[in-house]
């Protein structure tokens, strides 16, 4: 008895601590806020179909990875917070033509025109100049900027276009510096590029020639000599993998795989906020009504079930933060549905307890039998829910469906723990020690004999 009570107190403290974590991590600036899906936060969801028909099957994987990198770099230029760029390859049941997809999510962006234009554009390799004097002046003033982003903006403004760009590169390859053994990227220019490059290097000895990929400087070497043979070397502090990526990006001047837009979804922010508020309200009201029902019908065990349900809710919210689960409107619906289902196991157990009491067992025995005998039907029925959830998760065609399925499956598993383990511990802890009329009334349920 005392052992059960000590454990129950420990459990409640533990649950309260998790509850505090859920609460505190929702304060502004905290580390683990809920991750809201696009339909709740507002934003744009784009699906591109990648045309891989011209690629050998061995190259598809690399090309898709390269496509992802290029598009991600472009998306980052928008300054969107937490954009998502992912490729989906040969998903189950896709037809051949749509087997390779590129999925882009831009939270908070509802004007997609600009985004779509620049995502589909070809990546740009540019060579831009800064004179040695300007660079020195900038470095001298580098402490006078208000923020690093101001400083970066001012830095980028220094560079002047030269007219030399990626269309004049005929080939890029990876090389190794003979003395340091560092990987470097070798460039060969076309004849037009060779002449221009020769002229630029001749006129700018001592100046800096910045090499820009999609608007970002990746290497800013000093021009030491005129280079007339149409070959250049980009020596940054590359790792081999970075050098390989750069070579790949340069060789595929355009996107490595042609893409076409097949789905656009834009959700305005007001709609998302309404869905969040509605979901929270529905969750609270559903919890309260179920709690009232449980306490009226199931009395003392009903009260225990309410606490178990509260523990369930807290655990689920904490899991949403820690896994993390991206919450969508459908996911919230799944969670509210699971609140209704989480008490099912409790109901099966309590009804069984009542039956055992009616057969003349004492309270303690009836509780033990109730938990033990209800177990097979709880297990079997929850397995059927898990089968459904798993099929939905693996064959769900949209993120809406998979979001629902994930919440649903996690909910079923967690509810088995709270409805059985947690409520058993709590019920043992508060159970009346003697079988009296009052204690039998408290443990029993329903209205007729």
């Amino acid at each position: 008895m005392l052992k059960h009570r000590a454990r129950a107190v420990f459990l409640l403290i533990f649950a309260a601590a998790i509850g505090y974590f859920v609460y505190s991590s929702q304060q502004p600036g905290a580390k683990h806020p809920f991750r809201l899906g696009l339909d709740l936060s507002g934003g744009t969801h784009l699906v591109y179909q990648a045309d891989v028909t011209k690629l050998g099957s061995a190259d598809i994987k690399d090309s898709m990875a390269s496509l992802r990198d290029v598009v991600e770099r472009r998306v980052n230029l928008f300054g969107v917070s937490e954009p998502l760029v992912q490729t989906e390859q040969a998903a189950a049941l896709s037809s051949k033509e749509s087997a390779y997809k590129l999925i882009i999510e831009l939270p908070g962006i509802t004007d997609v025109d600009e985004a779509v234009k620049s995502i589909g554009a070809t990546p740009s390799l540019e060579f831009k100049l800064v004179t040695a004097d300007q660079m020195r002046a900038f470095q001298a003033s580098s402490t006078s900027f208000a923020s690093t982003s101001d400083q970066e903006a001012a830095y980028l403004k220094l560079f002047k276009d030269t007219g030399l760009n990626g269309s004049m590169v005929s080939r890029a390859n990876i090389q190794f510096n003979t003395t340091t053994n560092q990987p470097v990227v070798g460039l060969s220019f076309t004849s037009e590029g060779r002449d221009l490059f020769s002229k630029i290097t001749k006129d700018n000895i001592g100046n800096y020639l910045g090499i820009f990929l999609d608007g970002t400087p990746i290497s800013v070497p000093v021009v030491r000599d005129q280079i007339a043979d149409g070959k250049a070397e980009i020596s940054g502090t590359f790792t081999i993998i970075e050098a390989q990526t750069l070579v790949r990006n340069l060789n595929y001047g355009a996107l490595p795989v042609p893409i076409s837009l097949i789905s656009t979804q834009t959700i305005g922010p007001s709609l998302g906020q309404a869905a969040v508020n509605g979901g929270i309200k529905a969750g609270i009201v559903a919890f309260l009504i179920i709690a009232i029902f449980l306490i009226i019908w199931y009395r003392l065990p009903g009260f225990i079930a309410i606490i178990a349900l509260a523990v369930y809710t807290i655990l689920m919210l904490a899991l949403f933060k820690m896994i993390p689960v991206t919450l969508t409107a459908a996911g919230i619906a799944g969670f509210i549905l699971s609140i209704g289902m989480a008490v099912d196991a409790n109901i099966l157990i309590f009804e069984r307890m009542k039956e055992e009491l009616a057969r003349g067992r004492g309270i303690w025995d009836a509780m033990h039998e109730g938990f033990a005998r209800a177990w097979t039907s709880i297990r079997d029925s929850n397995i059927s829910s898990i089968i459904t959830g798993a099929v939905l998760y693996f064959f769900g065609s949209t993120s809406v469906v998979t979001g629902f399925a994930l919440v649903f499956v996690v909910g079923v598993v967690v509810s088995m723990f709270t409805a059985i383990t947690v409520s058993r511990l709590l019920l043992y802890a508060v159970s009346p020690s003697r079988t009296t009329k009052l204690s039998t009334f408290l443990i029993s349920n329903g209205f007729k004999k």
Binding site: A274, I332, T388
Partner: protein, 304 residues
């Protein structure tokens, strides 16, 4: 409720319950055959725009006329106090600008686009294929699981028949909501989308819960029953013993769903409605159809 005396009525009046379900199923099939289901853009591909007119919306006919030049099959439906929901063929970015100008009646009305969904037909066909495969897999998964779970019960009804019975009850639970949505689709323009299919699958998973609870009790009672006790009596008793818990487990779920339907917002409104209908019907079928069917099947196999 006293479980000893009036437990047999569910089994005894089973023909009445079969008839009620039979009528509902036939009505659902007729509605599905005549009107069908109205597929959403998830499945067909297309464009759905929810546009708000903060300064009062223009007349529906004016907007329709403005849109027919772009897509003759476009449709406009009023929503809320100042919104329209517009349905069109799939569009690309270039056409989007044309549509936006048509929606604002060439810039004369101010508009706020609340949602803009455009789904290509390739993606739609994929979603449809996945929907059918999912339903099929869930059904197979559940039959196999029940057959496995009840593998030790072979007398007097073999375990695969429990699985089969569960599936008949499940088909019942899915056909009726589909019929209701076919009627709602015809009269109120309700569309079925991937969330609708998700709801059907959840109904499958949930209504088998209650069926399993009853079957589990039949399984247990058979173990303890004397050999000459009629099967119908064992089933009747089992139904009576589990009656309240079947109702109560569904009741808590229905409470959650009803609250979700009322407060949950427009995104999940149809989803929770589908679930409400399906789970209510599912509770009915697991009490009044599933277990009595076991008795019927047992009677048939004895006659042979």
């Amino acid at each position: 409720m006293d479980s000893k005396n009036n437990t047999m009525w569910v089994v005894k009046y089973r023909k009445l319950f079969y008839s009620i379900s039979g009528i509902l199923i036939v009505a659902s099939f007729v509605s599905l055959a005549v009107w069908g289901l109205k597929p959403g853009i998830d499945f067909t591909g297309g464009t759905l725009i929810d546009v708000q007119y903060p300064n009062g919306r223009p007349d529906q006919t004016i907007l329709s006329a403005s849109l027919t030049t772009i897509d003759p099959s476009s449709s406009v439906r009023a929503s809320g106090a100042d919104e329209y929901i517009i349905r069109l063929k799939p569009v690309d970015q270039a056409q989007k600008a044309v549509i936006m100008s048509a929606l604002s009646l060439n810039g004369t009305a101010s508009t706020t686009v609340k949602t803009f969904d455009s789904i290509g037909p390739v993606l739609g066909a994929e979603a449809l294929r996945k929907a059918f495969v999912s339903i099929f897999l869930v059904l197979i998964g559940i039959v196999l699981f029940i057959t496995f779970a009840f593998r030790k019960v072979s007398e007097p009804v073999s375990s695969w028949k429990y699985g089969l019975t569960a599936v008949i009850a499940l088909a019942h639970d899915v056909i009726i909501p589909a019929g209701v949505f076919s009627i709602l689709g015809h009269f109120a323009g309700y569309e079925v989308d991937t969330l609708f299919v998700t709801a059907l699958l959840v109904i499958l998973g949930f209504s088998v819960h209650d069926t399993i609870v009853v079957f589990d009790r039949v399984r247990e009672n058979l173990r303890h029953a004397s050999a000459n006790k009629p099967f119908a009596e064992v089933v009747g008793e089992s139904v009576g013993q589990t009656f309240i818990r079947s109702i109560n487990t569904s009741l808590t779920t229905l409470i959650a769903l009803a609250v979700l339907y009322i407060f949950g917002g427009s995104t999940t409104e149809h989803f929770s409605l589908t679930l409400l209908i399906g789970i209510a019907v599912g509770t009915y079928s697991s009490i009044f159809i599933g277990s009595p069917l076991l008795v019927t099947i047992e009677k048939w196999s004895r006659k042979k």
